[in-house]
């Protein structure tokens, strides 16, 4: 696609094969959305939310096949529904949010398995949504990730301050619609990301870079940009390392491992230089 040509040329500095350039670009696009929204996920203690929404993708795929619906749209709609359900239950059930997320997570996985058991042909493609494959993306998926970045910049541009204020002030005066909007937005990030690179990579990219940023920063701005930098560096380093003959591992898993390694280094740094 023409629009990505300059970015492919830029990625050519690191990688020769075209599919590698495409993967590098995909990781960078996903990192922008995941790392920045991950800051809100970690600060709002919603680290398992992406897991619950991500695993509902299986149910979405199976339901789409059973009902002959568009797979992408069905997955997106079900993910948003799950996201709004978690937000609603967390607000109204008097249960802690991790309990609610665990409940919905279990329900989503069970629904997916139940539907797949009735639709065996759906099972064949499901492993792609779990493990993902960052090396086989097409232009349509890259475009979806670029669209996700635009959505992220607009959403976080408008909502960051409201959502951060709600982390501090009591619930009685917090912004109810802000919570629902964030739940729906995050569900879209997860649904698009999972269809491109799988649950494992999306949930890791939503949590690990933000956790690294949080460890090294005492300000919100510092955390945001540190998370972005950590995600971009770990993504490209992981992809590059996975193709070295001495390593030769799965690209997605290596990216996750480098993210975790970066977090460990950040935690070590904070241990040596504690916050005053």
């Amino acid at each position: 696609m023409e629009i990505f040509s300059p970015l492919y040329q830029l990625a050519g500095c690191l990688y020769e094969p075209m599919f590698m350039r495409r993967s590098a670009l995909a990781l960078a696009l996903l990192t922008v959305a995941a790392s920045s929204s991950g800051v809100m996920v970690v600060n709002r203690r919603m680290a398992f939310f992406p897991d619950a929404v991500g695993h509902s993708v299986f149910a979405g795929v199976a339901a789409a096949l059973m009902l002959s619906l568009n797979v992408q749209l069905t997955v997106l709609a079900l993910s948003v529904l799950i996201g709004l359900t978690v937000t609603f239950l967390a607000r109204h059930s008097h249960l802690a949010s991790d309990t609610v997320i665990g409940l919905v997570f279990s329900g989503a996985v069970a629904l997916g398995l139940a539907l797949v058991s009735r639709q065996p042909q759906a099972a064949a493609g499901l492993s792609r949504f779990f493990l993902g494959d960052v090396l086989t993306l097409d232009d349509a998926q890259l475009t979806a990730l670029a669209g996700l970045d635009v959505l992220t910049i607009v959403f976080l541009g408008l909502m960051t301050n409201r959502l951060t204020l709600a982390c501090v002030v009591p619930r009685s005066s917090s912004d109810r619609w802000g919570e629902y909007l964030f739940g729906a937005y995050l569900a879209v990030v997860v649904a698009v990301g999972v269809q491109a690179v799988g649950v494992l990579l999306v949930t890791a990219l939503l949590v690990a870079p933000a956790a690294t940023g949080r460890v090294v920063s005492v300000s919100f701005r510092g955390m945001f940009w540190a998370a972005m930098a950590a995600g971009l560096v770990a993504g490209q380093a992981g992809l590059w390392a996975s193709f070295q003959p001495a390593v030769n591992t799965s690209a997605g898993a290596t990216v996750v491992l480098v993210n975790v390694l970066l977090f460990c280094l950040a935690a070590l740094y904070r241990k040596i230089r504690p916050v005053r």
Binding site: S36, V39, N43, R45, L156, G157, L158, T160, N161, T164, L165, C167, V168, V169, P170, S172, S173, G213, R214, S217, V218, S219, F220, R221, G222, M223, F224, W225, V275
Partner: protein, 300 residues
Amino acid sequence: MSQAGLLKPAPERPPETPDGRPPDSSAPPAAPDRPGPTGGPGCGHYRHPGAGTPGERAASAHKPVVTLADVSVTLGQYKALRRVTATVPLRSQTVVIGPNGAGKSTLVQTILGFLPHEGSLTFDPPSPRFGYVPQRLDYDRHLPLTVTEFLALGLTRRPLWLGVSRVVRKKVSEGLERVMASDLAARPLGALSGGETQRIMLAAALMSDPDILVLDEPATGVDINGEQLMCELLDGFKKDYTIIMVSHDLPTARAHGDWVICLNRRVVAQGRPEDVFRPKILAATFGLHQGAELWSDHKI
């Protein structure tokens, strides 16, 4: 119970009204017209837009800002407030006192509009702006958020990740100066002590340029020095704002309040501190023995 409020001498009381109404009458006191704030260098520089001249203030001083008539609040099956009738006078410090479970926080949350109620609740002006300092914030103490960033949240729509603009930074700096907290600007919010946190919350409440400042137990979790500083700051602000404060600290209420509402799910009495702090009223509010003890031990 902290005695910190006693460390500061009682402020000068406004003169008696000519009609000499009883303690539980609805006539609020004249607004205190003190020479200036005692809270420090930052407090005196601000002037509320509606403050008016001293003469204008004196003329409007009797006007109640908040009027509750037969207000009842039910929380689930529990009747938290029963037919509460009370007033809050303009530009003075009204202190709501009462035992645990008396409905003090419920009362201020009803005034703030957080809780549904029966009865009449009216304001003058009709839609006042509120500045609210909650009792104790239960938030993540490791949240990466500096004091400047926190205060900027209420001043700008520019997302924090783009940084705080110079204009907003200046406003934050002025707000911190007013609560004697300029040195806290770059500190993480979660690293502050209880007293420092309350002053930052006070600064945030003041930045919304409120008509009514509401504080729910501002001395909870605060050391003696922090409590005294908070009281002094509020003394300085009450010529510019109408302040409603919930307190279980009777010495503080007596020393710093201009108007006291004794609450025990219903209004037991309301009036000037010297009229309300009497053994019979305290016994009726806090129970026979505790009221007598408070009086006999000169705790108030």
